[in-house]
Structure formats: structure tokens, C-alpha cells
Assembly symmetry: C2
Homo-oligomer: 248 residues x 2
């Protein structure tokens, strides 16, 4: 399993992924699920992956090798360094997923393995707006909006309530986003053993066209540990201050 | 879907269930999933149900009709008014589930319907300890303990983080439990349309041997609405007060 979150905020994007992969509880590994493409001052794109590791690694391979056009074999291969907008980047990732489907899905089905993969893609390229997308295993995708400013892939349930309640696009800074993403991840890591440390955090401020921060958080990270403790204390204090009902 | 929570606290038990049943998003009904058996000063037992409605209603029917012994046909039928302890009550519910399995499971399997049902049973009977059980569709069960003071059935993920962080057995009053159960339910209702109002709340204080409170909460309940709003405000204030990391 996996948990990845993308937050689309007024100041920019915050994206966070775990690194655990597992095939059963007795077969656990660490793989980064976070991939970045950056030309400072011109483009910054971050892709986070969830699902079958063979599928997602094949998608990354195609993206790095560049994808030839389906219709025009003489066209220059496209890559995330050549696309002109985040929307075109999402289309390219979708094409890569469809190519892997053509290559592998039938053989996987014969072995009862399902073709499962989903992706978060966020970033900005000079001359176009910052955007955050969720790309499905069919290669189609949706976009985060001001009304729904976060997207999640993988084990999304435990970490959703805090985002539902506390996250707003309007006026939100990336620092708010980092704290909320870490709290959402903490709730998930506590409840699902197949989501685990280290974590990969990426921040991209709007109109900087670069990776503002790419940071790995280990399980003994003092800030994360303090955040988790302080949050538990704050929640206990908060519910104790809520007014009791009259009927009890 | 369903969401039911049972909290096992030093002062007593708090149990909360929604009332929504659905067979698809276009076939939604309201059924109470909360059943109580009480002889004031002697016994109070509360059963909450999740799963296939035909299965859970058949289980309730057997419990109300009384179950004859499997091995001794001359023995008096047992009911939740005759058992001597919560443990025996849990065994009786388990026997009822197994009887329904014998009656219905094969015909259900022929129609690709799975035999799914789970239950929370809590209460106390004079002369024995208060206890809270989760009973599975195989009729076996587990018990809440001081280390793990809550049990959930149905859509459990959204409502778990708040309980994980804030709930302790030691020193916890039923008022703490009511607030936390309502907050856990609120997180679930917001995220899963198949969990819905009204809610049924039962409180049983230890050694009272009665239903301290049995209360129905409608979706326009002013206390619940205020609790939900206040909690969102408190969470936003709490995360904004958390210290920022040094590395951003």
C-alpha cells in the first residue's frame, strides 16, 4: 500500500509520499515513489506513484526515455522536459500508463494480477498556471480546484478527516500545508502498517518554477516526532474544552 | 454501509451507531441498528449490528425468540434476559449468527451474496464485570481491553485517528466518550454517504446495571451541529499553533 497527498494552496503546492512497498506483511521494501523534473526558473514537476510497482516503474521508465507520438512516428519524442504545461505533462503521464497497459495488462490478467496504478502530478512551467492532477490507471485524470484543494492516492481514508476540516485553498501558505500533510500522513502511518517511513516531501511555491524544497523525513526525525506528540496533546485539550450536551 | 463504535472506559460504556442502510446509492433506507435489553438494576445489554440486513435481522429474531440448546433439546431456551454475564451474552449472539448461517448461507452463496455480519455487544449484568465485545460473522468474538479501549464495525477508517490519539481507558468518563464518539462519527458521515443520520447513542455507567442514556440524535440536532463546528475551529487553531519546521 501507499499514501500520497497533494495540496493545492494559494501559495503553492505541497506533496508528500511514503516509501513503503509490500507484497504481503512478510515482504516489505523501501522504494521512493517520488520523482521530480526540474529546470530552475523554467519548470518544476513532481510525480508520486501508487499501485503495482512493476507498472509504476515502467511508467517512469517511459517518461524518462521519452514517448514517441502514437500518430506521427517522425515526431520528436516527448518528455516532461519538453511539455509546455502541467496539463500536457498529465496527458504525457496518461499516455505512458496506456503504453504500459498495452505492453503488460494481458499477461498480468492471465496471472490474476490487476493493472493498478495511480499518480499525483503537480508543478508549474513558465507561461502556464500551477496545477495538481490525479491520474488514473486508464490514463485519464482529474485536477484539484479551489473548492477541493487536495488529492490523495493509496490508503486515503485515515488521513482525510483532518484535511476535510482544516484545509482551505484561500490564504493557505505552504507552511500550513506541510503541517497538515504531515498530520494526515501520521494518522495513516499509525493505522496501516503498509504505509511507512521515510517520507518524501516536496514544496513548490507558485511562480518560483523550481522545487522550493525536496526533503526526506526519517522516522526518528525530531520535528516530526514533536509534531505528532504536540498534535495528540492539542486534540485531547481541544475535545475536553468542547461543551458537554445538556441531555447527559 | 454502517458505522458503529463502542468505547470501553473507566466510568462505563459509550456506544454509537448510525441508521443508514443501502443497496446502491439509489436505494437508501433508515433502520435502527441498535437493540437493547434491560432489567433496571439487574442487567443492561446493547447490541449494534453491521452487515447484510437480512442476516442481522434474523439474528435479532433468534435472540428475541430465545435459542434452544444445540445439544440438549429439553433445556430451557436461552435469551439475553436469561444469560448470567456479558461473556455468555456474546456466546449467545455468536450461536444466533451460526444458526442463521446454517439456515441461509448456502442459498445466499448460490446468489453470490456474501454472509457478512458483525456486531458490537456491550453491557453489564449483576454479579459480573462490564464488558464490550465485537462478534464476527463466524460467531466468534474479541473483547475490548484497557490497552485497546474501543471497537468499531463497518466503515471504521475515517473515525479511527481521533480515537487513536485522544482516547484512554484510564480516568475517562462517559462524557469524554460521548464527545469522542460523536466526533469520530462526524468524520465518517462527512466522508461516506452510506453512513447517515439519525444516530443512536447508548451510555451505560459501570455498576448501574441500566441504560444510563438511550438517545436519538437527528441531523439537525443543535448540540451535534455546534460540536462539529467547534471541533473544526479547534483543529484549525491547533495546527496553526504547532511549531513550523526549521528546514522550510
Amino acid at each position: 500500500m501507499t499514501y500520497c497527498i497533494g495540496l493545492y494552496l494559494e501559495e503553492g503546492l505541497v506533496m508528500l509520499a511514503d516509501t513503503r512497498t509490500n507484497a504481503g506483511v512478510d515482504n516489505i521494501s523501501t522504494y521512493s515513489k517520488t520523482f521530480t523534473w526540474e529546470v530552475q526558473g523554467e519548470r518544476a514537476l513532481t510525480l508520486m506513484t501508487s499501485g503495482n510497482l512493476a507498472v509504476t516503474q515502467a511508467v517512469i521508465h517511459h517518461l524518462n526515455a521519452g514517448l514517441s507520438s502514437d500518430s506521427d512516428p517522425d515526431a520528436q519524442p516527448e518528455s516532461l522536459y519538453s511539455v509546455a504545461s502541467p496539463f500536457q505533462a498529465a496527458r504525457l503521464v496518461g499516455r505512458a500508463v496506456r503504453r504500459v497497459y498495452v505492453e503488460d495488462a494481458e499477461a498480468m490478467r492471465a496471472q490474476d494480477a490487476s493493472f493498478q496504478a495511480s499518480f499525483l502530478l503537480g508543478g508549474q512551467i513558465q507561461g502556464s498556471e500551477m496545477a495538481l492532477f490525479q491520474i488514473y490507471s486508464a490514463g485519464n485524470f482529474i485536477r484539484a480546484t479551489q473548492e477541493t484543494p487536495f488529492l490523495q492516492i493509496g490508503e486515503h481514508k485515515y488521513g482525510k478527516p483532518i484535511l476535510d476540516r482544516a484545509l482551505k485553498y484561500q490564504g493557505a501558505g505552504v507552511m500550513d500545508g506541510v503541517k497538515l500533510a504531515l498530520l494526515s500522513m501520521d494518522s495513516t502511518v499509525r493505522s496501516n502498517l503498509s504505509v511507512g517511513f521515510p517520507l518524501d516531501l516536496v514544496v513548490m511555491r507558485r511562480n518560483e518554477h523550481r522545487l522550493t524544497l525536496k526533503y526526506r523525513i526519517e522516522d526518528n526525525d525530531p520535528y516530526f516526532q514533536k509534531l505528532s506528540r504536540d498534535w495528540s496533546d492539542a486534540l485531547r485539550a481541544a475535545y475536553q474544552h468542547l461543551l458537554p450536551p445538556e441531555w447527559l
